[in-house]
Subunit: 703 residues, 2 copies
Amino acid sequence: MLSLIFGAAVAALLVALFLGSRVLAGSTGTDAMRRISDAIKQGAEAYLSRQNRTIGMLAVFVAIGIYLVYHGQAGANPSRTAMWTTISFVLGAGCSVIAGYSGMWISIRANIRTAAAAEKGLNAGLQMAVRAGAVSGFIVMAMNLLGIGGLYAFLTGVVHILPQEVPLQIVGYGFGASFVALFAQLGGGIYTKAADVGADLVGKVEAGIPEDDPRNPAVIADLVGDNVGDCAGRGADIFESTAAETIGVMILAGGSALFPVFGIQGILFPLVVIALGLLCSVVGVFTVSVKEGGDPMSGLNRGFYVTGVLAMIAFWFATQKLLTPLASSGIVAPHASTYYFYCGLLGLGTSLAFVYITQYYTESKYRPVKAIADASKTGPATTIIEGLAVGLECTAVPVIVMVCAIVGSYFLGKASGIEPGHVGMLGPAGYIMAMDVFGPIADNAGGIVEMGECGEDIRKSTDVLDAVGNTTKALTKGYAIGTAALAAFLLFSAFMDAVREHTHTAFDTVNLAKPTVFAGALLGAMLVFLFSSFAIRAVGRAAFDVIEAVRKQFREKPGIMAGTELPDYAACVDIVTRGALRQMIAPGLLAVGAPIAVGLAFRAFITAADPTAAAEGVAAFLMVATIAGILMALLLNNAGGAWDNAKKYIETGVNGGKGSEAHKAAVVGDTVGDPFKDTAGPSLHVLIKLLATVTLVMAPLFL
Amino acid sequence: MLSLIFGAAVAALLVALFLGSRVLAGSTGTDAMRRISDAIKQGAEAYLSRQNRTIGMLAVFVAIGIYLVYHGQAGANPSRTAMWTTISFVLGAGCSVIAGYSGMWISIRANIRTAAAAEKGLNAGLQMAVRAGAVSGFIVMAMNLLGIGGLYAFLTGVVHILPQEVPLQIVGYGFGASFVALFAQLGGGIYTKAADVGADLVGKVEAGIPEDDPRNPAVIADLVGDNVGDCAGRGADIFESTAAETIGVMILAGGSALFPVFGIQGILFPLVVIALGLLCSVVGVFTVSVKEGGDPMSGLNRGFYVTGVLAMIAFWFATQKLLTPLASSGIVAPHASTYYFYCGLLGLGTSLAFVYITQYYTESKYRPVKAIADASKTGPATTIIEGLAVGLECTAVPVIVMVCAIVGSYFLGKASGIEPGHVGMLGPAGYIMAMDVFGPIADNAGGIVEMGECGEDIRKSTDVLDAVGNTTKALTKGYAIGTAALAAFLLFSAFMDAVREHTHTAFDTVNLAKPTVFAGALLGAMLVFLFSSFAIRAVGRAAFDVIEAVRKQFREKPGIMAGTELPDYAACVDIVTRGALRQMIAPGLLAVGAPIAVGLAFRAFITAADPTAAAEGVAAFLMVATIAGILMALLLNNAGGAWDNAKKYIETGVNGGKGSEAHKAAVVGDTVGDPFKDTAGPSLHVLIKLLATVTLVMAPLFL
């Protein structure tokens, strides 16, 4: 099995290498285009290296903290556990950095080549952007296989730790991945929206120049933002979702209930599923194409369906082969593997349902966006009210879907005769990631074409790709919140399991009727609200710096508006960089610190009769934070997406079209939605999993 | 004890009669003022009678449903239980209607007399408004004592039911009160904000005429709205909070754990506390006064402190006298009553803390409102973003306060040696209610003075009173959410107790780690989001009707704007009435139906080994809905209040003052906040308690 895991990883990396070289071989267009692309590249790399330095420093403190926590524990060989937990944290953090960086690396090179390819036609542009996205997707997934698989192989093969003990030694990997992902998503999200909001407010509103106008000093910062926010941030996010879900499954499979049944096969099962899914994604990417004048979305959908069906078939074989009880267990459950296959299907169905619900709430052909566009006729206030009503409403169906999935998989697992199941679906993540990175590449290509003064033809192609990119970004956000939710459920169970292993008690109750547990739940929900406040306000603060900087340039260089003087793009890039890094610290530390603080405070409730009182409080904190986080993320993502598309819908000529009062109102909605959908919402996806991984790693502290 | 309870109720009613006659004896000003006041009176009475008819019809169905549910139960004497549960539901609903009506009845008569009294001076105006508010507050509280006390006396004395069995027979009373309160708050809240938003959008924004301008056809509807929304709605809300909390305590005191310890004294304890608190409130109201040129707020605060200190002393005596274990119980716990006194103090402290936190987040002298006013400088988008950030942030400290109260009272109760305590504080509700009704009376008085073309002097006085009224409205909202939260905790325990009594099992665990229970929790949080969406959107829809109607009048009667033709005020009143009643149905039915639907669906999870699976799921639904409801209500109330005051702050001349771009942006914030703070937020207070009372009454369905 390890050879399959590593083989798939290497194969995917080779394909990524091949695709990457093809992308890099593409034309880089005109000089004007190259100048802009170089400026973007420079800004993005400067930002990411500074961001990684900041995260690196924070990570060192956390690594030391982890070592000290574990080193002080009783039990067999605490220093070995301390060492491996710390090493796996560092490794997870490192891989997460690489995952984020790889997405951005290819994206800042593919944007200009996509723009140039679009000159040849829509299909050339589409394939360029998708394949560049695939490079990043494959690297992210391969990193997971190599990282977790490598740790497993090393710990069992070289350090001679028992296989079932490995998962709890490497929980640090998941925490490291979440830790970096949170700061990357926060920093990138703040960066991209601060630049966007700042550029829009001062450019469109105050100076009256169009979007992406080269006279706007913040325009390059805005384009840089697409890369560092959407590519780098989402890369780290999806990497971390997969890592957290994998380790969650491994912990459960290594637990005393399941290990005797499935043995090593159960532990390696998630890695095998990812490996197979990755190979399916490779196939899927190569099926994407579009006829001239056709809809690129249907090409992308075809790729997704191919990947999905193949992944499902592969999943079937994996369950049949790996999830049949070992003869040594004495358990006879011939259909167990089939029931677990159904659990996986439920997970896939949930993710798919999330994608379709997202579509309904954010696309202009359905009621919600139309209602917002209509509300724009009576001004910004009604636009905001209707958008928030849509955001609040859109939580209903996803929750019902999730309830069906959770309850369904529980009963399926019970029906298997072995143990209640857990939803989870890791298959097509590689393809999803490719689709996700596609968005900002297309967006950037459009910006380069706009600023590079290219022909009308290219522009039409890049406009089409840009529109599709907006849709894929919204859809993958739906997928991301779906998988975040599913990963979170796995991680609860893993946390309960970890506490059981540490304490050797039958810890299986999180009793909300106990006042202290209820208090934990209350604090969990509150954390989500407070974190969202921090994230939203961070954008406002960083954007304010941008506005001030642009106003200063307009004041000091009157030639800019006349077109006789070049704005100082780098100054704006620098200001956003510093602003985003400063503003990401508070929400990031809140997210990491709050569960630890709650756990430590709740140690006061531990008595001889109730040794797990603190762990129980933390579990309630985690579970209710997850509930609130999912709802809030849905609200923020979908309200933001709906406002965005209501604006675009009006720009097609509805309700007075561009420049009308309705359009002005819709622009207000769009601006309000920016920090919702691109900063706070996606950061909440990461928050949910981070809370689970941090409590998992810090569990010994609460006992 | 019953004589104390009934005596206090009668005394309070006599004082209310006396104050009411004094209010009615006041001058009714000029003819012009009377014309406006009469129009308001007519509109408000027409609305309330139609609203009550609608609610009455819905209540008949619910009453039949309750009867059928209980009649089909096993156990001793099901038809007696069915009859008394149904009768108490009807009685609770009826009393709630009277509570709401009494507030409005006096308010629509006091508004003009306050305006006229303001001519004599600030103190005369203040006392007129406060005493009118007190009439309503005293009636509401007396209604509670007479209703619950009367039911208790009748059931024990005439029907000969054992005292400890009475509380579970009269849970219907609490549900009836919540049921009416929900629809009254929803209908009134939708009415007031639809009229307000509609009048503003079409008057201020489109036609460019000032607020309260008699040329605006919706202006009378707006003034009517203050009465039906703020007076009638809040009257029913506070009535219901008190009823629900009283019955919650009675159920716990009648349970098998506490009844042997405190006996009948424990059951009557909450009624005694309310009776004493009511007498203290009477004293407090008579201490309110203000020197000419002074700040009326300090006069109101004096009254509050007098009431609070007296209520605390009375509470001390009540605990010492009633909460000392009976000799027959064999329990020796000499300090038990003192510990329970501390629990009450914690409750009072929590309510007070909520009031102060509300003040911090919504008054213009503190950071949050100032930050919103500053954000207005960069337009409506940043105004909204900052306001939402404030709303999300403001949940943090109240949650920490609540956690301290819950955990603190739990340990205090444990320390008493008898049973974990429950926070709760019923004392000064009568005074709070008086302060609350004061707001809309002052607001209306201002409107009458504005439209009745009175002198500059009166206007100055009514403006001061109006400003104070806005503050008291915000503060009492803080108090209301605080008591709603505390009542909810009591009611959880009561629900657990009720299930225990029904099933004779040791039902004391709500285990979130069970997938079905977790699903209940997820659905509970979702309900709050969906309900808020319904409530917010209802305002938008009803407001849209108003806008259309006003536009039509402007179009068809061109003389209105010139001042030569009178607008048809009654037509607008009628449209808002119909709109509000139509729009209140969906959110209302959602609130009542969701917990029942969840409970019935979860019956599928009942097994022989787990007979309380459905009840456990409903309990999780209830608890997490309460958590989400408290957070969402805080967010909506405080964001709305902060936007409102940021606008007022700018109107004092800050950031360009009235008419500036910043002011326009702030008006957008204020309009967005309107349905937040006056419809959805206050309705959530009621929702929290309604969920508890409906699950309590319907508990047999889930078993």
